[in-house]
Symmetry: C2
Subunit: 420 residues, 2 copies
């Protein structure tokens, strides 16, 4: 090919950097035998193969599930999701009715659409510290600024700190640029912590008083993966402190059913926000996969979904215990490392000794790779790299087999022992 000239790239193309995950996966691919505790995959051993087969055996005879769907998604599935959210929230009826729900290509697209509908270049998004590191790709890709919300020592958002931040932004004339506040409220990525009910309620008052135009985006991706009992705090939809404010609740079928469907959802309390996301989605793909939606709908309607997700809870609770116990058995806590046992989710959030740098370029990371074990350096989960603690590690225990978890813990502790 003899090239005469090059196209010019858009700002979006130039802003779209290689993702952290992609660079970690490159590491993984070049090391055969590497055990990865990095990617937040689920366990291939517990995908719902039989439910998918049954759903496909029961495809509607009129062929409609293999036809185009509608842009917002299958009406019955949206009804089911609205009713289920209300049930989880202990509400008598859905605060977010079915017509506010959109089915999306994973909750990733839900996040992207919310950001597109609300933010212009240079606008500000507030995030927890730490937060799900992939959201930075979304926000920076859209040309947004990301600010961390102050957090307590217990890893909770600090409502008073947020109030002070919003007041400071108002003084600086930046408050009108704040469009979105993003919260992961159940078994968070990366910390495994859930938002306290008192904090969630207090935040409603803080936003009502200081920034009522900011839209809160509540990501509930891991809510279904509790280990012993559902977290008692309802979603924003059921909290009186959030009435009159603008928010959206989003979720995913990836963690609680199958990532292979590539299906998530988002429901805004403002019909106008659901409508704006819907019209942008129409440009992007006019509707997510109808077959995938049929399978999800069938799983609920047939009664197969709830027993299935109950089995996942048992499965991942056992893996969480195994992961934590394996680290302990290999003496990681005696090397000055600490962590809390999560009550749900797929992640463990380790704290190394304060002076130990766990970054990608660190001696510790090299040692871990030498031992053929991969993790996500915790610093990636912070918006502000200056303030990010360097001694944190995100461990994803969802995907590897039990034996591999134990072996990975052994390798990890061996690497850590070189820095004790």
């Amino acid at each position: 090919m003899k090239r005469t000239d090059w196209p010019e790239w858009s700002k979006a193309a130039l802003a779209a950097r290689e993702s952290v995950l992609a660079s970690l996966m490159t590491q993984a691919l070049t090391r055969p035998g590497l055990l990865s505790l990095a990617a937040g995959f689920t366990d291939n051993a517990v995908v719902p193969t039989e439910i998918v087969r049954e759903a496909v055996a029961h495809l509607p005879a009129d062929g409609s599930a293999l036809q185009y769907g509608s842009n917002p998604g299958r009406p019955k599935l949206r009804e089911i999701l609205a009713a289920r959210l209300a049930r989880q929230d202990g509400a008598a009826s859905p605060a977010l009715p079915a017509d506010r729900f959109l089915l999306t290509s994973g909750s990733q697209q839900a996040l992207y659409l919310a950001a597109q509908a609300l933010c212009d270049e240079g606008d500000i998004v507030l995030v927890e510290a730490p937060t799900y590191f992939v959201v930075f790709d979304v926000f920076y890709g859209l040309g947004l600024r990301v600010l961390e919300m102050p957090m307590t020592a217990q890893g909770q958002v600090d409502p008073e700190g947020v109030a002070a931040l919003l007041k400071r932004l108002e003084t600086e004339g930046e408050l009108p640029r704040v469009k979105l506040a993003y919260f992961i409220t159940y078994y968070s990525n990366p910390t495994g912590l859930s938002m306290d009910g008192a904090v969630k309620r207090a935040l409603g008052k803080v936003f009502a008083e200081n920034a009522p135009r900011v839209v809160a985006l509540e990501d509930t991706a891991y809510r279904d993966l509790y280990f012993t009992a559902p977290h008692p705090t309802p979603s924003l939809a059921a909290l009186p402190e959030w009435e009159g404010l603008s928010f959206a609740v989003m979720g995913s079928f990836s963690k609680c059913f199958s990532p292979g469907l590539r299906l998530g959802w988002i429901a805004a309390n403002l019909p106008e926000l659901s409508g704006a996301m819907l019209r942008i989605k129409a440009q992007q793909d006019f509707g997510s996969g109808n077959l995938s939606q049929w399978i999800a709908e069938y799983a609920f309607a047939s009664g197969a979904f709830e027993p299935f997700v109950a089995s996942l809870r048992i499965h991942y609770a056992a893996k969480a215990r195994l992961m934590s116990a394996s680290f302990a058995e290999n003496g990681l806590n005696k090397l000055g490392w600490s962590w809390e046992e999560p009550e749900g989710g797929l992640l463990l959030w380790l704290a190394a000794p304060k002076t130990l740098d766990t970054g990608l370029e660190s001696a510790f990371c090299r040692a871990a790779l030498e031992e053929n074990v991969l993790y996500v350096p915790g610093a990636f989960a912070y918006a502000d790299p200056e303030k990010a603690p360097k001694n944190r590690v995100r461990i994803a225990f969802g995907a590897p087999r039990g034996a591999d978890l134990a072996e990975a813990a052994r390798r990890f502790a061996k690497a850590a022992s070189q820095f004790a």
Copy 2:
């Protein structure tokens, strides 16, 4: 809900208007018994139910097809698509290798990603006149300007006209803003026409001489749906006149297999363009549905795909003949209407008598709705509403049953007879 304040909408939200299709569908829903020749759906009677069941029966035993996939898509499926494009183009080996291919959420997402990767707000996209009307939602939604390329009386792009347009844009200082030229090259939506080989080759020279940085986007969504023989002209990938230029070829599984998979693809000749689209896609959804991709891959690998698409060709060829014959039998041509028999695709492009306005607000459209038949007014398919002919009609014959096609033609001709 007592609202304290309203969020501010982004430019993207404000630019995202209700789509033509959505407003037409609202019409359809309010009229029971309406026969729609508007939506470009395929026929529910010929969706690949058995192939989907077989694919799901053969899901990999390791659970991997229900796990997350990769961002570009399943490697084997990309290999298959690259080899198949080369075969269709009569090329000895793929000019676009597998690593340039991305699987997308329908070809709609492919179009969106290409526009995002190449265009900033205010940039210019060139389109055929007429073109697929949904692309305007995409382009205007991203804040782009759309210019029509000059066309010949035979409905072909006019290479000399395009050269003159590019020279004019250069004089006006606008040429650097032209980033993309969008072509539908096989059994086009809405005209059913395919691009002549001579035109395709001449356009390569025109762009090389006048605008080598413009990226050509070739949409081949209907290529597989030929009625008697494949169109003889290869894609841009196999034309020496396009060597050294930048282009991408895109396609879809919606028309030639099943819209329910929500699966399309795009392959750029520049690795940098594939890479830019991939990184933006990572922000949007990091990868399209893995299960859908498994089904498509299985359809190819099992040998089921080609016989299936061959059966679709026979099916839609018969529907095209029936649609055209039904209009003739009901005397539409005697009322001064004309159309060409398409050689592929799912659409018929009617010309009413020159003075007859077929727009949504027209007396003719009202008469058609009175007769309970819906169509897409042709003017929607033009970027420039001033210059758009008002007497065109797009007829989609893919979805309705045969008996309904005949009845819809009768109703349509009855409406037309009031304006003869």
